[in-house]
């Protein structure tokens, strides 16, 4: 009912803070868990491999929105008294770990086989082999795709709005509810997303080009 003033804009920026925080939580949680997924996916144990490929198929094959709903309501059913934060953090971690796990599996497999054999021949154990030899190389290979997914994740946090989380999009909805100018508000919200995501996208594709050249 009012114009969009400083207060409203600050409120949207408050939402931005949560958006960034959610993305970071998703990325860190998904990253840590994603490494485990990637390792399990490349494990020699068939059962572990099949189980993780099921996990990946599940989280890549269902909408993030539904994952948020199911975790949000499901966690409460388990009798764990959690706030929206934890539910959303869990959902983003699961979602991100499936995607990052799959990206990193690809890059682990892209590390030349000889590296693994050389590490084996030196008597290195699994943990050292992965930590010291394979993963550093794999993570470098995966950088463009990883950054690409980070952009997706930042945009994906907008769905947390639907379970009532006041991040950027939700803040926009609230302001548009109060000012009745959804177009202007969502224009601003869209612009803010663009300002965060665009440089990241460019970093990612820049890295990709540089690596493509290095291979040639």
């Amino acid at each position: 009912m009012g114009p969009i003033g400083e207060n409203e804009f600050l409120f949207i920026l408050q939402g931005l803070k949560w958006t960034v925080l959610l993305a970071i939580i998703g990325f860190v949680g998904g990253g840590l868990f994603g490494i485990l997924i990637a390792l399990a996916r490349t494990s020699r144990n068939r059962t572990v491999r099949v189980a993780t490929s099921g996990y990946i198929a599940l989280f890549q094959g269902t909408p993030l929105l539904m994952q948020l709903f199911v975790v949000y309501y499901g966690v409460a059913l388990l009798g764990i008294d959690v706030n929206a934060w934890i539910a959303v953090a869990i959902a983003f971690t699961l979602h991100a770990s499936a995607f990052l796990g799959e990206i990193w599996r690809g890059s682990i497999e892209a590390v030349p086989k000889g590296q693994n054999e050389a590490a084996n021949a030196l008597g290195l154990h699994y943990v050292s082999r992965m930590k010291d030899v394979i993963l550093p190389q794999a993570l470098k290979i995966s950088m463009p795709a990883t950054i690409g997914f980070l952009v997706q994740l930042i945009k994906g946090t907008s769905l947390a709005a639907i379970v009532g989380f006041i991040e950027l999009t939700r803040a926009g909805q609230i302001i548009s509810n109060q000012t009745y100018r959804p177009l202007l508000v969502f224009g601003i919200v869209g612009l803010i997303y663009f300002i965060i995501c665009w440089p990241l996208s460019h970093l990612g594709s820049g890295l990709e080009k540089r690596m493509a050249k290095a291979v040639r």
Partner: protein, 246 residues
């Protein structure tokens, strides 16, 4: 948790709407505000505890209560038979009129006149239920995430009418003065405090609180402050919606 446990804990978690001004909304400084927030704050004071608000989306209100995420709902819950099967209502403490809003230029007198129209409502709200019951079989109902989207849909011409509450007139005027008006009143609903089924202590605490603020005039003051209207008269009973735990 029981009332006594909450008193011991010292904090009451209230489920409330976060984006439904003036009922319950998070204001621009990030604080919970609105009619329900004022009432709930009074209630917490009555219990002698601090209040903590949990803003909920329309569809999450009942699950949040039944799964124990919140202790009590001051969440603009219109009292319906359906919902009374899932939660325990108190006596009503607010009233709401649900009507059809459309352009002045459109001649609408009765539900039959909107046959074939597209009508917008906020998803899972009492408007949704009222409009669906009244004209759902002849008109197309479009369900949006919230009031803002619903009103925007009418202004953008995406729907020809919307099911709204008493505040819609004011908001539509703000967006486009003199264009829209209220056409048909579908129903008057009353809001009650929501507690979990069978939990007598909560229900009694809510009811005696409502009696007290009615008598003291505090309810009237808050109603005037937020709605700009005098305190409506509330019915003593509503069929199939018990106000007390039996």
């Amino acid at each position: 948790a029981t009332v006594e446990e909450i008193k011991a804990k010292g904090t009451l978690v209230v489920g409330i709407q976060g984006d439904n001004a003036p009922w319950g909304f998070v204001n621009t400084s990030g604080k919970q505000d609105g009619f329900d927030a004022d009432i709930a704050t009074l209630f917490a004071k009555e219990l002698g505890v601090k209040v903590e608000f949990q803003p909920l989306a329309v569809a999450n209100r009942i699950p949040a209560l039944t799964t124990g995420k919140v202790d009590i709902l001051f969440a603009t819950m219109a009292m319906t038979e359906e919902r009374a099967k899932s939660i325990q209502y108190s006596k009503p403490y607010a009233a709401n009129t649900i009507s059809l809003y459309a352009a002045k230029a459109d001649a609408v007198k009765a539900p039959a006149d909107v046959a074939g129209w597209e009508i917008g409502v906020p998803k899972s709200s009492s408007q949704d239920k009222a409009v669906t019951d009244a004209v759902g079989s002849t008109a197309t109902i479009r369900r949006f995430d919230d009031d803002a989207a619903t009103i925007q849909a009418l202004i953008s011409g995406q729907v020809r009418a919307v099911g709204g509450n008493q505040f819609y007139g004011q908001r539509l005027d703000a967006a486009s003065a003199g264009t829209y008006e209220s056409k048909i009143d579908f129903l008057k609903t009353y809001n009650g405090v929501g507690t979990r089924l069978g939990e007598k202590d909560w229900n009694e605490a809510a009811n005696s609180f409502i009696d007290k603020i009615k008598a003291s005039g505090e309810l009237a003051t808050i109603t005037k402050k937020w709605m700009g209207i005098d305190l409506p008269t509330f019915p003593e009973s509503i069929p199939n919606i018990p106000f007390t735990v039996k």
